[in-house]
């Protein structure tokens, strides 16, 4: 069947901000879909609130709306654009849910828009667990026994039939939020209560436990003619009980016989038919009882997913792109396989390598969070690795995580280590309860000589995998036993082929990495590269998508062209996410346009950068010195010049920069020495002093004693942090000597090579972020001055900000521009530079300068319409700013607010208060003609529903009382009822504001917590009251979060909220595309 001709304009819905469970995989799928639709000559309208995405680049769609993903905003987009169809299957659960909401609100019917890719009926069968089970039973597919509950009593009734452990799944929540596994009645009640409140429909599914069963996923596709293919099978090493996003997984499935596999495939075909996904991709999860092979289906996602991104990268089959084409009415056999060129997409990829994915968690950011892994996803990113064997892929995946010392699998219990004295009981516990650290426990148990039978009993990990781990442990033991001097070529070859990195061997042998590499090269043991070709070499591949391995034959075939190797940012983590992948992609796009051959190195399967379409040559490899230098060496053999871009991928490539340069690899743009100068507190202070630019008093310390000295000389409060970190890792504001000592004891362990930086903390200062581009001639343009909404002390990544500034004076703006230019020139920046400033008592201070891509680059690029990362990439290869047509600082039309989103809802018991350590996972942007409306839209996009009326609860510390008065007055004028704790209320009343008194949590009942739970409060303004009442505050903030009530913890944030509410009331909600904004800015 040829393409449908009745669809001309399609609205693609994105997935919104990066949150746990929904990361940049949907940028990848959305980008692919937009490209595929436009290739077909369709007009594409995109809506996505996340500016840090490639998909929201204005050239990827005809009109791009960076607007909140709410019914109200999207209805406006639909009303303006009148699309023929909506594609809701490439924007994750967010897009699917929004499609259902639009349907229920009557919007689809009103504007006569059709859903393509998945129908409302199909979405409902797949999403509604009861309907799904009925559907499965009707086609003879087995499901776990289960019951629905809409109350605690109904839930308890169900648990009597099912017994324990029991699984609790709230309906319609993303990534299993609010669910869990209960092993007893008490736990059961607690999880059910939470789940009921978190489910938007107040409904739970209580399910028979299949914990410990083997877990599989099939990524399948179907076209309008009922042709069906399986793209990839995935096996979870962590058996049932751990969310698949938190599981270490492997592709292809490795422990299924053909009969079992084909039975699963047959079931999958029936399932996609029955659910009614007429075209596109779906993910289907199965559990298999290891004792008797009983197979049940767990769930089905009628859309592209995290796993389908993984499957696309694992096989080379671009699921999202093909899904978009199928939605237009194409059949699978009418679409070509890009990689082989000659064969159609109507086939099942087969692979001749093994792929392992390992999640990356961020528990170090949430020390009080429960690290137990359950059916609710907790990881923030993932690394994928490809090897010829499972062992090789597994070790490569673990080194891709970049966990440093804590990532080492071998010799964990060496003398002096944390596990030296771990007793058997503790180890048993570490194996029995799945946590983010369980795999390391498996290797400790193997080194302790525990049998795989024993480890299997505790972990239920399949014996096949455990045997592989045992073989790895034995190899490590052998290497350790023979020692460096007697390490023979045969053993070296065997361990390299098993995936050991030089640095692993160095650790086992007690020598340095360079000596291992030298020894390896003596024996001609070098990486060769194999291609990912969808067909196990049955056909020729035309796409240089490669992975490294130690085999006889290398298929890299480097060309003689001049090339640029762009080092990516590795697994997503808090502080280093999508924004950096965005920058890396832009570097590749720009340099490809300039005639360079672009080579990408990255190991994050969720990204656009690891799409074989994005670059000329893709190496899916870990970002370590060994792996990267091997790639550069191989590329050089083609004959052309090879240079590296290290300033776009966050800390990951920067950590390698000096070492790469030392071995003679050319680094493009700002020199690694300048980068080091900016990072080195002492050198940088000296530079600022010479330039006469004010900076906060600061110092450095290597010991607690030194730290005390520095702190007393500059005066408390101080900001402390280790050098060379991103995302404010281990950064803290310290108010006294006691806390300083405590911090130093923990932090110095953290990074012995680098000192601790101590800065004077500028309390209540206004913070400013600047992104600039500087060229080789010393020209500098300011991309934007971004004013933070929250005052200093909150990590810039966690603070909302606005461009252009709405409160800053012209005088200070001029000073900031001047300082930025001078610093950029002094640092000889060639490329991007991010600088942070603070304004206190009318003085502009430089806080820090980083001559590299920053988190705000994509946001600023979307606001200004100028792709700063591309401009800077061109600068790096010698094109001046003037040559590119940039002679003035950039301007924007309207206001653009960036607001972060946080993962607190995933971590019960964790405080939601913000500080210098970054905790947000993603961001949204709101744009409008006024600051108030832009802020309101950003809040909406972030899921903070600022009320238009109702009751506001105010409780602020004494310092903040004078400044809260105008805010309270503003709210009163807007008609809000004001509720306050005694102290605040008395103060407000004294200033003529009518405030009602409510009990604090420890004062009696009903207290403020009750009022929040009873939904008598619509907005919380609560600034921290100091240590004593810490827990009281915390309870208020958590209660608000769980009820979905916005809780604002800074006065500047509260003031912004008041302007937002005022603006939305006055102006209403309107939408406007980026293309229109950019037109206005140019016009």
């Amino acid at each position: 069947m040829p393409k449908r001709t009745d669809i001309k304009r399609v609205l693609v819905i994105g997935s919104g901000p990066i949150v746990i469970g929904q990361a940049c995989e949907f940028d990848y799928s959305g980008t692919q879909a937009c490209k595929a639709l436009r290739d077909e000559g369709l007009e594409v309208v995109l809506v996505n609130s996340n500016p840090a995405t490639i998909m929201t680049d204005p050239e990827l769609a005809d009109r791009t709306y960076v607007e909140p993903l709410t019914v109200a905003a999207v209805e406006q987009v639909i009303a303006r654009e009148k699309p023929d169809a909506i594609l809701p299957t490439v924007g994750g659960q967010t897009a699917l849910n929004l499609a259902v909401d639009l349907d229920e609100a009557g919007v689809l019917a009103k504007y006569n828009v059709e859903l393509i890719g998945a129908s409302i009926a199909a979405i409902k069968v797949a999403e509604d667990r009861l309907k799904f089970k009925e559907a499965m039973r009707s086609i003879g597919v087995d499901v776990p026994q289960s019951y629905y509950a809409r109350s605690l009593d109904q839930a308890l009734e169900a648990s009597e039939k099912i017994g324990f452990p029991a699984i609790i799944r709230p309906s319609f929540t993303m990534g299993g939020v609010g669910g869990g596994i209960a092993y007893n009645v008490e736990e059961f009640k607690e999880i059910c209560a939470r789940g009921l409140s978190m489910s938007p429909v107040h409904e739970l599914l209580i399910e028979e436990s299949v914990i410990g069963w083997k877990e599989y996923e099939l990524e399948v596709m179907r076209d309008c003619d009922d042709n069906f293919v399986v793209i990839c099978s995935i096996e979870n090493i962590d058996p049932m009980g751990v969310h698949t996003g938190d599981s270490i997984t492997v592709a292809p499935a490795l422990t299924l016989t053909d009969r079992e596999y084909q039975r699963m495939r047959d079931a999958a075909r029936r399932i996609i038919r029955r659910v009614g996904v007429e075209t596109g991709g779906s993910n289907i999860q199965f559990a298999v009882n290891p004792e008797d092979g009983r197979m049940i289906v767990i769930e089905m996602n009628p859309r592209v997913s995290r796993s389908s991104a993984l499957a696309s990268k694992a096989t080379g089959f671009p699921i999202a792109k093909i899904a978009a084409k199928l939605a237009l009415g194409y059949r699978l056999d009418e679409i070509k396989n890009d990689i082989t060129r000659l064969t159609p997409a109507s086939f099942e990829p087969t692979i001749d390598y093994v792929v392992v994915k390992v999640p990356r968690w961020a528990f170090e950011k949430f020390p009080t969070a429960d690290r137990t892994l359950t059916t609710q996803m907790k990881s923030v990113g993932e690394a994928m690795a490809i090897g010829r064997t499972f062992k090789e892929a597994f070790l490569k995946a673990f080194r891709s995580l970049e966990l440093g010392r804590s990532g080492r699998l071998f010799s964990q219990a060496a003398p002096g280590s944390a596990y030296e004295h771990e007793d058997d009981q503790a180890l048993q516990r570490a194996l029995g309860i799945p946590t983010d650290r369980r795999m390391w426990a498996v290797f400790r148990a193997l080194e302790r000589g525990w049998t795989i039978g024993e480890i299997h009993r505790l972990t239920k990990i399949d014996l096949w995998f455990l045997t592989q781990f045992q073989q790895l442990t034995e190899l490590a033991n052998q290497v350790r036993a023979v020692g460096a001097r007697d390490l023979a070529a045969d053993l070296l070859r065997e361990v390299k082929r098993a995936g050991f990195a030089d640095v692993d061997l160095a650790q086992l042998l007690g020598i340095d990495e360079d000596s291992v590499s030298a020894r390896r090269l003596e024996h001609q043991l070098v990486f060769g590269y194999k291609r990912i070709d969808t067909c196990a070499a049955e056909f020729e591949s035309f796409t240089p998508y490669m992975y490294g391995t130690f085999e006889e034959e290398c298929e890299a075939e480097p060309s003689p062209r001049a090339k640029v190797v762009i080092l990516g940012s590795g697994p997503n983590r808090i502080g280093q996410g999508l924004e950096f992948d965005y920058c890396c992609c832009h570097a590749a796009f720009a340099l490809r346009d300039q005639g360079y051959e672009t080579v990408m190195v990255n190991c994050n399967p969720e990204t656009v950068s690891t799409d074989y379409d994005s670059v000329d040559r893709l190496y899916f490899e870990p970002l370590t010195f060994e792996d990267v230098s091997a790639i550069v060496a191989r590329e050089r053999q083609g004959g052309g010049d090879v240079a590296c871009v290290v300033q776009y991928g966050g800390q990951t490539p920067l950590k390698l920069a000096l070492r790469l340069q030392k071995v003679g690899i050319k680094i493009l743009g700002t020199s690694p020495d300048s980068i080091d100068l900016a990072e080195d507190r002492e050198r940088f202070s000296k530079l600022l002093w010479e330039l006469g630019i004010p900076q906060a008093a600061s110092g450095m310390a290597h010991s607690p004693e030194e730290a005390r000295e520095v702190a007393s000389s500059i005066g408390f409060p101080v900001v402390v942090r280790p050098s060379y970190v991103l995302g404010g890792r281990a950064m803290a504001i310290v108010y006294d000597t006691g806390s300083l000592d405590r911090y130093m004891r923990q932090a110095v362990q953290l990074s012995p090579e680098h000192p601790i930086l101590i800065d004077k903390f500028l309390e209540d200062a206004t913070e400013i972020d600047v992104d600039a581009v500087a060229d080789t001639t010393g020209d500098v343009i300011i991309g934007g001055i971004m004013e933070h909404i929250e005052q200093a002390g909150i990590h810039s990544g966690d603070s909302s900000c606005v461009v252009p500034p709405h409160l800053l004076s012209d005088k200070h703006m001029a000073t900031i521009r001047d300082y930025s230019r001078r610093v950029a020139r002094a640092l000889k920046v060639v490329g991007l530079m991010n600088a942070q400033f603070a304004i206190k008592d009318d003085v502009v201070y430089v806080l820090e300068v980083n001559p590299r891509a920053s988190r705000t680059i994509p946001y600023l690029s979307k606001a200004t319409g100028v792709p700063l990362a591309k401009v800077a990439a061109n600068v790096m290869i010698g094109k001046t700013l003037a040559e590119q047509g940039f002679t003035e600082d950039l301007a924007v039309s309207g206001f653009f607010v960036k607001t972060p989103v946080f993962p607190f809802v995933r971590f019960p018991g964790v405080d939601t208060l913000l500080g210098p350590e970054m905790k947000s996972t993603g961001e949204v942007m709101g744009g409008a003609e006024t600051f108030g409306s832009a802020f309101a839209k950003a809040q909406m996009g972030a899921g903070q529903h600022l009320p238009q009326e109702g009751t506001v609860f105010i409780s602020v510390n004494n310092n903040d009382k004078p400044n809260v008065v105008p805010i309270a007055r503003g709210l009163m004028d807007l008609g809000f009822k004001i509720l306050a704790t005694r102290g605040t209320a008395v103060y407000l009343r004294a200033h003529g504001i009518d405030a009602e008194i409510v009990f604090k949590i420890n004062e009696g009942r009903p207290h403020v917590g009750d009022e929040i739970v009873n939904k008598n409060v619509d907005l919380v303004i609560n600034t921290p009251l100091g240590r004593e009442s810490f827990f009281d505050d915390r309870a208020v903030r958590r209660a608000a979060m769980l009820q979905g009530i916005p809780a604002i913890t800074t006065l500047t944030g509260a003031a912004a909220a008041v302007s937002a509410i005022t603006a939305i009331r006055a102006e209403g909600l309107t939408v406007k595309s980026l293309q229109e904004y950019h037109q206005d800015a140019r016009g």
């Binding site: 003619d225 039975r263 290891p290 064969t343 096949w464 070499a537």
Partner: protein, 377 residues
């Protein structure tokens, strides 16, 4: 123990012996299935061939008595990248290595199977030798490979067909794993099928049985009259090894069957023999089709089936006579995958609707055979 694979083009791969301690010789081919190594090992169509699995991890789930496609492994030798030391599956009855050693199958592991596959893809299937233990000079092994008879012109059927006719037990049909294979309603009575065993996979018999047929299996050399003597509702021509063009006796017998008016269904070698009997010609493919992911288009419905494949020869479409219609095409390379006689109840496919290993997409062909037989009756 060391092992070496030597190819006729002089290329050698050094690895480790993971099967019987002996030597092996044959045509080296590759199979791209991700699962089903035991079914591959026991498929009689691989007689005379050394099979390379492109999937790198082999042996993971061991071997099971239920998963054989014949009594014992049929391959001449086996090549894999990484051998599993254990068998991890609830149905496993032993490890792959135990199985290979017990049946005297030579196998080599730890070689660059992708490099080997690329060699076979570009140069075509090649003769080769695996030596284990004390390895002679590689030049000597290469010479031995070059001295092997070519697959073209080889009648390998006589080596794998049954010695005498037998009835396939009517209970040996449905397994618990077939629960999702859709079947037409069973015919009112059990049908009688006479089958030529050119090296038949047992799953064909299991599927025919499941579709309501009682099957009597005949040796490849049995005259057509013997099959017709049991008054079959239909005749089945099985898969098998080697060059179809030299099987004069089978082609002649098949001609008799086609002319008899009885419904005939052929698979793989059976398809090629039918083609030859009806007047078409066969030729040898460069490196053949072996795997479980080839898309085949049913030209009558336009539907795509993902198929199980194992063949080195194919029907030349230019030689297909006018009274025969090509019904299925391979979407990878456009080769003929199925044919039908325009006036007689005769049809056949090049691929394997019985799967084992591979997808079940083409099971409908057994139902089609049953329909042909019931309509005829």
């Amino acid at each position: 123990m060391d092992a070496v694979l030597a190819l006729e083009n002089g290329r050698c791969f050094r690895g480790r012996s993971v099967g019987a301690s002996s030597d092996a010789a044959g045509e080296v081919v590759f199979n791209t299935s991700l699962t089903g190594y035991q079914e591959v090992l026991t498929d009689p169509s691989y007689a005379g061939q050394i099979v390379t699995m492109t999937c790198p991890e082999i042996g993971n789930y061991g071997v099971s008595g239920d998963d054989g496609e014949s009594r014992a492994p049929q391959v001449s030798g086996f090549i894999i990248r990484s051998e599993s030391p254990i068998a991890s599956n609830w149905r496993a009855e032993g490890t792959l290595r135990e199985y290979l050693v017990r049946h005297g199958i030579v196998a080599i592991a730890d070689i660059d199977t992708r490099a080997l596959t690329r060699t076979l893809r570009t140069a075509g299937a090649m003769r080769g030798v695996i030596a284990t233990g004390t390895i002679p000079k590689t030049s000597e092994l290469v010479e031995r490979a070059r001295a092997l008879p070519s697959m073209e012109g080889a009648d390998l059927v006589r080596g794998v067909t049954c010695a005498e006719a037998f009835d396939w037990p009517s209970t040996n049909g449905i397994t618990e794993f077939d629960e999702f294979v859709s079947m037409d309603p069973a015919p009112g009575r059990r049908l009688r099928v006479a089958a030529y065993d050119f090296g038949m996979k047992w799953n064909i018999l299991r599927r025919l049985t499941a579709h309501g047929c009682d099957v009597r299996v005949f040796p490849a050399t049995a005259p057509a009259s013997e099959l017709l003597a049991i008054k079959p509702d239909g005749v089945f021509l099985s898969n098998g090894p080697g060059d179809p063009a030299v099987l004069d006796y089978a082609i002649a017998n098949t001609r008799v069957l086609v002319d008899s008016g009885v419904p005939v269904f052929g698979i793989c070698l059976g398809h090629q023999i039918l083609g030859l009997a009806m007047g078409a010609k066969t030729y040898k493919l460069k490196f053949g089709h072996r795997g479980g992911n080839h898309p085949v288009k049913d030209l009558s419905s336009g539907r795509i089936e993902i198929t199980s494949q194992n063949h080195g020869f194919a029907i030349d479409p230019a030689t297909v006579p006018d009274d025969v219609e090509v019904t299925h095409l391979n979407l990878y390379d456009g080769t003929v995958e199925g044919m039908r006689h325009r006036t007689r109840p005769v049809f056949c496919v090049q691929y394997h609707p019985e799967a084992a290993p591979g997808p079940h997409d083409a099971d409908y062909l057994f139902a089609q055979f049953v329909r042909a037989m019931t309509q005829k009756a």
